[in-house]
Subunit: 110 residues, 2 copies
């Protein structure tokens, strides 16, 4: 994950994954890589603190489960508060995206 770009919040991306389905941390890292075509390579040192923080805020809840393969996994589920938070962040992202493109204007080519 490139520091210059991710400051908008790993939390927004994490919440948007969890809105679609409950997941465990390790899985989120793989999912983000896939869905972003390797643009977002989330580090564990980034993700786990973010998850803990989101749980403290009440945006997600966690449940320990033992998978078929015997491994321990900590599944995270988004709460209604988390959904509201995500909605807000998504709106801010749209505003931000528009503003950048407006300023960049002629520089962009696509």
């Amino acid at each position: 994950m490139d520091k210059r770009y991710m400051a908008l919040g790993t939390s927004m991306l994490v919440l948007s994954l969890l809105k679609q389905q409950s997941m465990y941390g390790y899985q989120m890292i793989r999912e983000l890589e896939q869905r972003s075509q390797m643009v977002f390579r989330l580090q564990e040192g980034t993700l786990y603190p973010v998850l803990h923080s989101l749980e403290q805020q009440g945006a997600v809840i966690s449940m320990q489960k033992t998978a078929e393969n015997g491994r321990m996994r900590k599944y995270y589920e988004i709460t209604s508060h988390g959904k509201k938070l995500l909605q807000e962040k998504a709106e801010e992202w749209k505003i931000y995206e528009t503003a950048v493109n407006q300023v960049m204007g002629g520089v962009l080519f696509g």
Copy 2:
């Protein structure tokens, strides 16, 4: 300026302003506010260090001028190196923007 969002680099926005015309610092702050409809409210404590850093990198050059009103102004001009840098950043921005929208998918509404 909201810390969560500007991490992509004030420098990209600054360079894109300077590509269009030479400007002095104070002017850039006003311009960015206008062009982004007040989304980007660059702080002086952010801008000036960025300008100094860009100058050190050779992405811009500065010239002191005294304006008609007698005020001192430090005009900045983008160099060819700066233009190349801007082009790179603009391409990264496009990649990043696409990736976010891909991950966000259903969450976005516009």
